[in-house]
C-alpha cells in the first residue's frame, strides 16, 4: 500500500500554563486512506499522550471532531490525509482549532458562544394548534413539496465548521451566525410551526443583512448544507412580513425595480434608492471621482433587447405559489 512520510504541525495551547498557542511538530508514516482523526489518535497513542482533541462517532454524524486542516474547517473523521496533501502539493499537514471560539485546550474549542447564540434565536418548533393535532393519536403530516423547502437544513450536525469560517461572525459581535440563522429559516418554512415567517424578525434582530455572502459556510459544510441560501431566503421572508424600511430590503427592491424599468441595474440611482439622501451623501466623494473618470451611466437607461420578455417572465414568476 502507498505510504507517505507526513509532517504534522499541530497547534497546541493549554491556557493554564501557556501564554499563547504554539505549533508542535510530529512525523508519521501515513498509508493511503488514513483520516486526520486516525492520525491524531496514532500520534496520541504512540508519541504524545498530552495531545487533546475531541472525537466521538468517527462516522461524520456527531460533529465533534471538526478542526482546521491546512486552514479550512473539516471533520477529522471524514477527511483523508492524501487528498489534503495533494490539494496543496505538500507533505505537511497543519492542524489548528476552529476559529471564532475560545480554545479550551489544543484542538478543542468552547462551543458555548455559538450554541448560546443559537438558543437565543429559538430554533425549535412552536406547534401551530391549527396544524398540529393535540394528541399523539393523529399524525402531523408534512408533504414532500413542503419538506423540500427545509429538508437539507435538518441535516446540520452542529459541528460549527461554518461558524468558524464565517466572515460576518469575525467582524460583527451581534451577528447570528450561519448555522443558527439557517436553523431559524428551517422553522420559518415548517408548515407545523406557529411563528412561520414571523421568525425572520429574529434573523433581522441578529443582523442577518450583514451576511457578506462569501459562501464559505456553503463550502465548508461537511453535510453539504448551504446556510447562506437559508439566510437569503430568511431575508426574503422578512420583506414579506413587512420589514421593508431598511437598507437591505430597499437594496433588494432597487434591483427588482431596475429590472422592470430597463433590465439592467441602475447604479446611479442605487445609493438614493437604498439609503435615501444619506446614501447619496455618504458616497458623494467616491461618486464624484467616478463621474470624473467617466464611470457613471445616465440615470435614464435604455431598455435591453426584448425587455418585454423579461417583464413577462418576472410577472409570471411572481404569481407562482
Amino acid at each position: 500500500m502507498e505510504k507517505r512520510e507526513v509532517l504534522f504541525r499541530i497547534k497546541r495551547f493549554n491556557p493554564k500554563k501557556d501564554e499563547k498557542p504554539y505549533f508542535q511538530e510530529y512525523k508519521l508514516t501515513v498509508p493511503k486512506g488514513m483520516t486526520v482523526l486516525e492520525a491524531l489518535q496514532q500520534i496520541k497513542d504512540t508519541q504524545d499522550p498530552t495531545l487533546a482533541f475531541r472525537a466521538f462517532c468517527r462516522s461524520a454524524i456527531c460533529g465533534s471532531c471538526a478542526v482546521k486542516v491546512n486552514g479550512f474547517p473539516k471533520l477529522a473523521c471524514k477527511t483523508q490525509i492524501f487528498n489534503e496533501l495533494d490539494k496543496f502539493g505538500t507533505d505537511t499537514l497543519t492542524l489548528e482549532p476552529l476559529d471564532n471560539m475560545e480554545i479550551i485546550r489544543d484542538l478543542i474549542v468552547d462551543w458555548d458562544k455559538p450554541f448560546k447564540r443559537m438558543e437565543e434565536m429559538k430554533p425549535w418548533l412552536v406547534p401551530d394548534p391549527e396544524v398540529v393535532p393535540k394528541t399523539l393519536d393523529e399524525e402531523s403530516r408534512v408533504y414532500p413539496n413542503e419538506l423540500k423547502k427545509f429538508d437539507s437544513f435538518t441535516d446540520c450536525i452542529l459541528c460549527t465548521s461554518c461558524f468558524s469560517s464565517c466572515t460576518a461572525t469575525q467582524i460583527d459581535e451581534n451577528y447570528g451566525g450561519p448555522f443558527q440563522l439557517a436553523r431559524v429559516y428551517r422553522f420559518a418554512v415548517d408548515p407545523r410551526d406557529a411563528l412561520k415567517a414571523e421568525r425572520s424578525k429574529i434573523g433581522y434582530a441578529f443582523d442577518m443583512w450583514n451576511c457578506v455572502r462569501c459562501n464559505k459556510c456553503a463550502d465548508v459544510c461537511p453535510k453539504h448544507i448551504s446556510p447562506v441560501d437559508g439566510i437569503m431566503k430568511l431575508r426574503g421572508l422578512s420583506i414579506d412580513v413587512g420589514l421593508k424600511d431598511n437598507p437591505g430590503a430597499r437594496h433588494v427592491m432597487a434591483f427588482y425595480k431596475s429590472l422592470l424599468e430597463s433590465g439592467m441595474l441602475n447604479e446611479v440611482l442605487l445609493p438614493l434608492r437604498t439609503k435615501g439622501i444619506k446614501g447619496v451623501l455618504e458616497n458623494l466623494p467616491v461618486g464624484i471621482k467616478m463621474i470624473l473618470r467617466g464611470k457613471a451611466h445616465s440615470p435614464v437607461m435604455k431598455p435591453i433587447g426584448e425587455h418585454e420578455t423579461l417583464i413577462k417572465v418576472m410577472k409570471a414568476a411572481m404569481e407562482v405559489e
Partner: protein
C-alpha cells in the same frame, strides 16, 4: 479560438467601464470572439432571490435561454454574475421538477431553458484556450519585476460545488496568469477572503474593514499592485480604497487592476484602450 456569448454584467457596463474596455481589447488581441447578446439582463446579483426564488431562477434561465438560442457558452467578467448564472444552471439541471416549473414561466415569453450551454469566467477561458505557456508566448511586454497580489474574492471559487473550475481552498488560476505575464505572484493569507461588497449597504463599516484588511495584506506581502477577476471586489478595493484603509488605520495607495487590464498591458495593448485612466487609484505603467 472560441466564440462566446459575452455577458458583461451591470458593473462592466457602468461603474467599471474600464473592465468592459479591457476585456474587449484583450479578446480582440487574442482572437477570442465575444458576441454580446442585446437581450441579456442583469442577473439580479443574488438579491433577486430575496424577492422570490422563482424570480431569480426565471430571470437567469431567460439569460441562459438566449445564449442557448445562439448555441454559445456564456463568458462573463463578473464573479457574482458567474455564481448566479451557474447556480441557476446547477439547480435546474439537477431538478427536473424545478426545471419544468421554470420553463412554464419562460413559456409566457416563448422561451425555453434546455441546459445546453456552460457559463465561464473570462480568465478561465484564457487558461483553457491558451494555457500558461500559450499566454506566455503572446506576451510582448513582460511585466518583469512586478509583484502582483492575486485577489480571488469569493464568487469565482466558492462554493466549489457550483463554480468547480479549481479547488476553492487552493486555486492557482490567477497565479498562473500572473506568472505567464512575466510578473511575480505574491500570494497572502487573505487572497481568498471576502471584500464585504455584498454587505456594503447594510453594514458599510464592516465592508470597508474587510477591504482594508485585504489591502493591508497585499501591502505586507510586498505587492506593487493587486489584480482581481471581480468588478465588485474592484469597486471596494479601488474606488473605496481610502475609505477602507481609514477603517484599519492606514493610508497608502495600492493600484488594483482588473485581470484583463493586467493581461492587456503584457500583450502590449495601449493603456488607454484598457481604460487604465479610469482606475481611481492611479496606475503607473
Amino acid at each position: 479560438m472560441g466564440r462566446y456569448a459575452f455577458y458583461p454584467g451591470c458593473a462592466a457596463k457602468g461603474a467599471s467601464k474600464e473592465l468592459y474596455e479591457s476585456t474587449i481589447a484583450v479578446a480582440e488581441k487574442l482572437g477570442i470572439e465575444l458576441v454580446e447578446l442585446p437581450q441579456f439582463s442583469c442577473c439580479g446579483a443574488g438579491v433577486l432571490e430575496e424577492v422570490k426564488e422563482a424570480v431569480d431562477l426565471a430571470v437567469n434561465a431567460r439569460n441562459l435561454a438566449y445564449a442557448e438560442k445562439e448555441g454559445l457558452d456564456i463568458v462573463t467578467v463578473c464573479s457574482t454574475c458567474l455564481l448566479v448564472l451557474r447556480k441557476t444552471k446547477y439547480l435546474l439541471d439537477n431538478d427536473e421538477d424545478l426545471k419544468e416549473e421554470v420553463n412554464e414561466i419562460l413559456s409566457e415569453a416563448g422561451l425555453e431553458y434546455k441546459g445546453t450551454v456552460d457559463v465561464k469566467h473570462f480568465h478561465w477561458v484564457l487558461l483553457e484556450e491558451f494555457g500558461e505557456e500559450g499566454l506566455r508566448k503572446r506576451v510582448v511586454k513582460p511585466l518583469s519585476n512586478l509583484k502582483v497580489y492575486p485577489y480571488y474574492g469569493c464568487h469565482t471559487v466558492r462554493p466549489e460545488s457550483i463554480l468547480g473550475f479549481e479547488p476553492s481552498e487552493n486555486p492557482q488560476s490567477l497565479e498562473k496568469i500572473i506568472k505567464a505575464l512575466g510578473a511575480e505572484p505574491v500570494s497572502g493569507e487573505r487572497r481568498l477572503e471576502c471584500c464585504g461588497f455584498h454587505a456594503f449597504w447594510p453594514a458599510p463599516k464592516m465592508s470597508m474593514k474587510l477591504t482594508g484588511l485585504n489591502l493591508l495584506d497585499a501591502r505586507r506581502n510586498g505587492a506593487n499592485c493587486m489584480t482581481t477577476p471581480c468588478p465588485l471586489c474592484h469597486m471596494n478595493l479601488d474606488a473605496n480604497q481610502s475609505r477602507a484603509l481609514k477603517e484599519v488605520g492606514e493610508s497608502f495607495k495600492l493600484p488594483v487592476l482588473h485581470v484583463p487590464q493586467l493581461v492587456g498591458l503584457a500583450l502590449g495593448i495601449e493603456p488607454k484602450k484598457l481604460g487604465l485612466h479610469r482606475n481611481i487609484v492611479p496606475v503607473n505603467y
